[in-house]
């Protein structure tokens, strides 16, 4: 038996070498007789192979006579031909997506063999989008993946796959070349070869306890075997500009509002402005008329350059890259994000049974952080004082900013430009991802063992400096202060997998078993000192500040995981597929250590059946899957009572250490998502129309929620909740090539999501958070308050309503719904007022190629979500804040004027604006529609430059997010998930216009 195998192997290896050799030359063309560039030409059973050049030509030497040659190219049906000296091949189009090899966890599979919805986004789709984080470029491209961007330079977007399945962190797991991450903001778009989104349980369950929020697998760019060195430069430079800038009241409109509201109370403020800066009270004309948003905004630059080099010989492939991104913020002070990335990888076939490889990414980011509080202040600050006032006294400085107290505005008022200016905060990030692997082929292309060790080190260094300044009492810093912090993450993962695949006739089988160990450590050290000298970055050391009163904070955590997993997949004749995975996960985070996560998926390629021969489908697959996924991105279990150190003062400057003990401690396990997915995948009309439709049902069990212990504000987390997400993901794409010069594509994707809190602890109906509530039967993170059902129009109406009488209401005030009809409005009348979770998200894209010209447009929108206009709602804290123009334009001005908007007087009244009432007036639709990206490019081929021929150059113009429409009184209704839809201190999103160049050397 053993001898037989050995003989067989020996024969297989030696026979070709002994045969006679010939030279093979030829051309590969497509169906419209265009050369296929980069097609792989491989002599079967050998390592002899090449790729076609720019004219589709190839030549191979020393091809054994009688050998079979396979010509393949992505998107075309491969052909295998007998070797002959001239070999011209015409490749037919294939359904690209089906033949593609898709990365799945700990392995790869052909798309057509999948039993679950897996979306692949190619690096080239990301590279032209001017974003600092690759995930931001994915917005609208994948149904079921909801991405919300941040305008702050260097801040990545929040990402959710298939809804919110946890009361905690809902961001997916990112696996970059085998390493686990919470985000991929450290990568450059140009680093990415492919990005794979695992949406359902059958695909993601292989990642077990980390998979509940979905998994995104990223592979960085690598070379291919026998590929001549390919050098590509990609770059763009462009301008960013704020869009949808909110219109605020000018001084005259602001005065009108206050005079209508309560002239006696506010006259002095308005007159103070006129006294200080000039104007005419009777005419409501003010010389000071500052548009704070204009003062805070600017047009900013963004540029990205990347150089990539890939190639490969028979035994080794390599990829090397460098990229640099620089993005300035649109806030009119120094704020930016700069990032330099290096990347290198090498795969080496050391012997015919051993392959080793190394992969490394180094990323260095520098973020100068803007003070986003200035955005909220710019909304609140009235225009009646200027930005600067050079006449002010010597105590004002270092810059002569004007101050709100020059108009008698003291508490809660600021000079927003001063807020933005007197702020100096920087983050530096150094991150190294490295990965080593060895793969041993025991039986070539059948049985292999892969051992991989990934190590990630990242250092985030924060420096926040407050200068000494004085604007007025309410906005000053009497000493300088400096906070420095170092956060380190050390992570390693050691994976070992054994994979076996084989086929007998129509039976195809792949089996994989693996074990994975991982360790994640986090260390934090921070120091604070005052009186640190001002002026130079070189002086920003805690040592140079006051020793007295300086503080140090230290923190850290360490988690370990140990997992065993297996995947078995079977397919019969490409018709019936079955895949099962199982993962056992052990985690140090919880008292309950082990969790077990099974999944099963099945698919039936109906189009392969005989009875479908005449059906109008080129391809039709029905698939279904079920699985369990874990979420361990929740706080570690305390598991025991612990002591919190405190200090109390006993006379003078003496403090005595003390502690408090918390008797209520958490006893937690991970959350478990049970997911079922049913979908179809089809191609029709000569593979021109392809589509995926998937329905899913995701029930999160053991969701961790933190009910408040009665009588206190102390919360104790427990695995009490259930959350249900159901939905539908649809994507349809039409691709056609009319002539050899003209092809076009149109695509649409839509996802519908129904998110509900299914149950909380026992009979508990509601848990209140700081911003929103979670109520059984409602969407997660719903706003909660009084519902405005109209506006009191007349004195008679007020007199007739006991609620109005009790609360002294006047025409122009809100009528709240008395939910329990008890004739009074109190806490029992609050109700759910909507949530920022959208019901629908949708995207469209279309584009064409005509000769060298390419054009593409993509659009994106969402509907059904709400936002909390915290900018407006903050009026509870100060009634004479500025008003936005819509509040002025739409205000109630007399009986019959409006039944929705309050009067000017109402806006300064507690009844209408109190944060204990949370009127539904502040809840606004977060629906929006956006033209996401428009790109026009032109490619020049084979440019002769003396003796050198430049293979290709493409010039492009891109408008990213040029147009957005929405109703909310906001810069953007796109708010990151952590904000729970609170619109406050939001850095505006930008439209970015870039000019890009791609050069192939």
């Amino acid at each position: 038996m053993n001898k037989k195998i050995f003989t067989f192997l020996l024969t297989a290896l030696l026979v070709p070498a002994m045969a006679l050799a010939i030279n093979v030359k030829g051309t590969v063309l497509d169906k419209v007789n265009e050369p296929v560039i980069g097609a792989s030409v491989q002599v079967n059973g050998t390592t002899i192979g090449t790729v076609t050049d720019i004219d589709g030509n190839f030549s191979l030497a020393n091809v054994p006579e009688g050998a079979k040659i396979t010509v393949s190219y992505i998107g075309m049906q491969p052909q295998t031909l007998k070797a002959q000296s001239t070999l011209n091949v015409t490749l037919a189009d294939d359904n690209q997506l089906l033949e593609e090899v898709v990365v799945i966890g700990y392995g790869a599979a052909k798309a057509k063999d999948l039993t679950s919805p897996i979306e692949v986004v190619k690096g080239k789709e990301l590279i032209t989008t001017p974003t600092s984080s690759p995930m931001a470029a994915l917005q609208g491209k994948v149904p079921g993946v909801n991405i919300s961007n941040s305008g702050t330079p260097g801040d990545g977007p929040s990402v959710q796959i298939r809804g919110l399945g946890s009361f905690g962190d809902t961001s997916p797991l990112f696996v970059v070349d085998g390493m686990f991450y919470d985000n991929i903001n450290f990568l450059n778009n140009a680093d990415i070869d492919e990005l794979t989104v695992l949406k359902d349980a059958s695909a993601a369950a292989i990642y077990g306890v980390r998979a509940a929020n979905g998994v995104v697998i990223i592979t960085t760019k690598r070379g291919a075997k026998n590929q001549p060195t390919k050098i590509t430069y990609n770059g763009y430079i462009g301008l960013q500009k704020a869009t949808n800038v909110l219109k605020m009241c000018n001084s005259s409109e602001y005065a009108t509002m206050l005079i209508e509201a309560d002239e006696a109370a506010y006259k002095s403020t308005l007159e103070a402005s006129i006294k200080a800066f000039g104007g005419d009270y009777a005419k409501r004309q003010f010389n000071a008329d500052t548009n704070w948003y204009n003062e805070l905004l600017r047009t900013a630059m963004m540029t990205n350059h990347s150089l990539n080099l890939t190639g490969g010989s028979e035994r080794a492939t390599y990829g090397v890259g460098i990229s640099y991104l620089s993005q300035d913020g649109i806030m009119n002070v120094e704020n930016y994000y700069r990032r330099l990335n290096f990347r290198a990888n090498l795969d080496f076939q050391a012997t015919n049974w051993l392959k080793v490889g190394f992969n490394g990414v180094f990323s260095n980011g520098n973020q100068k952080v803007p003070n986003n509080a200035a955005w909220q202040q710019a909304f609140n600050a009235p225009s009646i004082y200027p930005v600067y006032d050079e006449r002010r006294g010597e105590d004002v400085g270092p810059i002569k900013f004007a101050s709100p107290d020059q108009c008698g505005l003291i508490n809660n008022f600021y000079n927003p430009v001063a807020t933005a200016t007197y702020y100096d905060s920087k983050n530096e990030t150094y991150q190294v991802l490295s990965n080593f692997f060895a793969q041993i082929d025991f039986i070539p292309s059948k049985l292999n063992l892969r051992s991989s060790y990934s190590y990630d080190f990242s250092l985030n260094r924060g420096t926040a400096f407050t200068p000494k300044y004085y604007v007025f009492n309410g906005q000053q810093s009497t000493t300088t202060s400096l906070t420095k912090s170092d956060s380190n993450y050390y992570k390693w993962i050691f994976d070992n997998t054994l994979t076996y695949n084989d086929s007998w006739g129509n039976h195809n089988f792949t089996g994989m078993v693996g074990v994975s160990m991982r360790n994640e450590s986090y260390r934090y050290l921070s120091g604070y000192a005052t009186n640190v000298p001002e002026g130079k970055d070189e002086w920003k050391y805690l040592n140079l500040g006051s020793k007295d009163g300086s503080t140090v904070t230290d923190g850290g955590s360490r988690y370990r995981g140990l997992s065993y997993f297996t995947r078995l997949s079977y397919n019969y004749a490409g018709k019936y597929m079955l895949m099962g995975t199982f993962r056992a996960d052990g985690s140090s985070k919880y008292n309950e250590k082990w969790g077990y996560f099974p999944s099963i998926g099945a698919a039936w390629v109906i189009s392969q059946e005989e009875f479908m021969e005449n059906a109008p489908f080129d391809y039709l697959k029905l698939r279904a899957s079920w699985g369990k996924l874990g979420n361990d991105k929740i706080a570690a279990s305390a598991g025991f009572a612990n002591l919190t150190p405190t200090e109390a003062v006993f006379g003078g400057t003496t403090t005595i250490p003390g502690y408090t003990s918390e008797s209520n401690f958490s006893w937690l396990a991970w959350e478990v998502v049970n997911e079922t997915n049913v979908g179809i995948n089809f191609a029709t009309l000569n593979n021109r129309l392809t589509g995926d439709i998937d329905w899913f049902y995701r029930m999160t069990e053991n969701a961790v929620i933190s009910p408040t212990i009665p009588m206190t504000n102390i919360t104790v987390a427990g695995n009490y909740g259930k959350i249900l997400n159901t939905g539908l993901d649809v994507s349809l794409n039409w691709n056609d090539k009319i002539t050899k010069d003209f092809s076009y594509h149109v695509g649409a994707n839509l996802s519908y999501l129904r998110n509900r809190v299914h149950s909380l602890k026992g009979d508990l109906q509601m848990i209140k958070g700081g911003r929103t509530v979670n109520m059984v039967g409602e969407k997660m993170n719903s706003y909660y308050g009084y519902k405005v059902i109209g506006i009191y129009q007349t004195e008679a109406e007020c007199a007739a309503d006991p609620i109005a009488v009790t609360n002294g209401l006047k025409p122009g005030d809100f009528i709240y719904e008395d939910v329990n009809h008890d004739g009074k409005i109190d806490g029992a009348d609050k109700q759910v007022l909507g949530s920022y979770v959208p019901d629908f998200t949708y995207g469209f894209n279309l584009g064409f190629n005509y000769k060298g010209l390419d054009f593409a447009v993509s659009m994106y929108g969402q509907a059904g979500g709400k936002l909390w206009n915290r900018k407006r709602a903050l009026r509870y804290a100060c009634s004479n804040y500025n008003f936005d123009y819509a509040q002025y334009r739409d205000r109630w001005t007399g009986a019959g004027s409006t039944n929705e908007h309050p009067s000017a007087a109402a806006l300064i009244k507690t009844w209408n604006v109190s944060d204990s009432n949370n009127a539904s007036y502040f809840v606004e639709s977060a629906n929006y529609f956006r033209i996401q990206n428009i790109t026009v490019g032109y490619s020049f081929k084979d440019i002769k430059m003396g003796s050198y021929t430049l293979p290709g150059i493409r010039l492009s113009l891109t408008a990213d997010r040029p147009f957005t429409t929405f109703k909310a009184n906001s810069f953007t209704p796109e708010l990151r998930s952590g904000t729970e839809g609170w619109d406050t201190e939001v850095y505006p999103l930008t439209a970015t216009y870039t000019f890009g160049v791609q050069v192939d050397f």
Partner: protein, 497 residues
């Protein structure tokens, strides 16, 4: 065969690696970092024994002296209002119009902060029990443990006293694991407090707080004073007299001569203090600060120090009603009026100019008891009230209780009341009446822990004084906030004995 051997040579180490990790479930049995389990505490070491008690003072500092508590509790008496119409308007509805919105966050905050002290005290007593297990009964250390228990229980009783005065029937949490949240009748709460405070009085040191090794820690006299306050609510005047007389005779307390500075840095933990919430800036002008959130800051007007035109100040909350200011002026109050009331467009004796409020509907007079002059700052630290303690229980109140108890029992209360008046540079009274003593309390204790409101309610004057503003007997106590009702619906049940 050779191939297989070769293969095995690779399989074996890998299998070992796999096997190794298999046996290593130890690998995931690691302790969480940066957390101290309570079992790590060495309860046999007496030097740690004060830590649970010290923790209660820290809890009282962060919880009781929350700024919103002062905004809610001190503004119920008709003399003081929250001061601003443009911010926290619901507080104006509460204090000025007795229109209670049970959705108001600050209402829930009062309840939460005092129950946080009570819960922390319960677990601190559990911790002290653990130390006690190692102590010989009757030993000095066992007595010390009882003193510490007494400190915790006194502060806990004080928290209940605040709650029962503002909310009436309230649940009593007898120990850490007590979960019966049904409310107790007011009388039951009083009786519980009498038991608690009597134990404290009998087991604690009979010295002034500033004579304690932990300077400013509460003593038997603190417990005795709160006990007297409870007895006063019950109308047990003989008890009140006995208790207060004991403090007067045995306590060695004395009034701080300089009323103006009593509430400022020189008056910190003076001989008049029975309990105050202490803070420190460690004597440094910047950096570390152990303080009380925004308690002072929120009560601060905008001020300018005359030399150098330096500005400081706070949020402009908490104000005296104009009628109260007029009443003070009519009494010819001198230092007490100067100290308690900061009037707009005047300059304090320390040279700080009080700036007017831009909005005439808001206050034009502020709580001077929260004022710290510029020249008492540890510069350049200039946060309003920085480094000042929050005064809670004062000997002057003991004297006034003593006087009232005597007069109500037909005795002469002139001596104690005149001590208070003399310090305030007011002429002596002869044959002081209850009403005169109540007026004395109104000015002496204004803006201090809803003292005036308690007086109005216990004397039945509230209907007459506050009635015109909307007060009724039904509004004596606040409703329980909706948030707390949602968490513990049994709070809605009728109070039990």
């Amino acid at each position: 065969m050779k191939f297989l051997k070769k293969t095995l040579a690779y399989i074996v180490p890998v299998a070992l690696a796999l096997g190794m990790s298999t046996s290593c479930t130890k690998f995931i049995n690691i302790d969480p970092e940066d957390t101290l389990p309570s079992e790590a505490m060495d309860y046999s070491d007496v030097s740690y024994m004060y830590q649970p008690a010290s923790g209660i003072y820290a809890t009282a500092r962060t919880q009781a002296a929350h700024w919103a508590n002062a905004m809610m509790m001190n503004t119920r008496d008709g003399d003081v209002w929250s001061g601003r119409v443009d911010d926290q308007g619901t507080a104006v509805d509460f204090g000025r119009y007795f229109n209670y919105n049970n959705g108001f966050w600050a209402l829930g905050n009062v309840w939460t902060t005092f129950y946080n002290i009570i819960r922390a005290a319960n677990t601190a007593l559990d911790e002290l029990d653990k130390f006690d297990e190692y102590l010989a009964p009757g030993s000095d250390n066992a007595k010390l443990c009882n003193q510490y228990r007494g400190e915790v229980r006194t502060i806990r009783a004080w928290a209940y006293y605040q709650l029962v005065n503002n909310f009436g029937p309230i649940p009593i949490l007898y120990d850490t694991y007590f979960t019966d949240f049904r409310r107790k009748k007011v009388e039951s709460v009083y009786n519980y407090l009498i038991d608690e405070l009597t134990w404290c009085k009998d087991n604690m040191s009979r010295v002034r707080p500033n004579q304690m090794p932990h300077v400013g820690a509460v003593t038997a006299f603190t417990a005795e004073m709160i006990l007297a306050q409870v007895q006063m609510l019950k109308g047990n005047w003989a008890e009140v007299e006995t208790l207060t007389q004991d403090i007067i005779d045995k306590g060695n307390f004395e009034l701080f001569a300089d009323y103006y500075n009593l509430f400022k840095i020189p008056g910190k933990v003076c001989n008049e203090s029975l309990f105050e919430i202490q803070v420190t800036d460690y004597g440094t002008g910047s950096g570390k600060y152990t303080g009380i959130d925004q308690y002072f800051n929120f009560q601060g007007p905008s001020m300018t120090h005359v030399d150098g035109n330096i500005g400081f100040g706070g949020w402009n909350f908490v104000s005296y009603e104009y009628e109260f200011v007029e009443w003070c002026d009519a009494r010819d109050e001198t230092v007490r009026s100067e100290t308690a009331i900061l009037r707009a467009n005047t300059t304090t004796r320390d040279g700080d100019r009080v700036q007017p409020n831009g909005n005439p509907a808001s206050t034009q007079s502020w709580n001077g008891k929260a004022y710290l002059p510029y020249n008492q700052f540890t510069l350049p630290r200039m946060d309003y009230g920085a480094n000042n303690n929050c005064r809670v229980l004062r000997y002057a109140d003991v004297l006034l209780m003593n006087a009232e108890a005597k007069v109500r029992q037909g005795k002469n209360g002139d001596d104690p009341v005149n001590k208070v008046r003399a310090r305030a540079k007011m002429p002596n009274l002869t044959g002081a009446t209850v009403d005169q003593i109540l007026d004395e309390r109104r000015i002496e204790l204004c803006n201090e822990w809803c003292s005036r409101y308690i007086d109005l309610c216990r004397t039945g004057k509230a209907a007459q004084v506050l009635g015109p503003k909307g007060w009724t007997e039904a509004k004596r106590y606040w409703p329980i906030s909706q948030g707390h009702l949602d968490q513990a619906p049994e709070l809605l049940e009728d109070p039990i004995d």
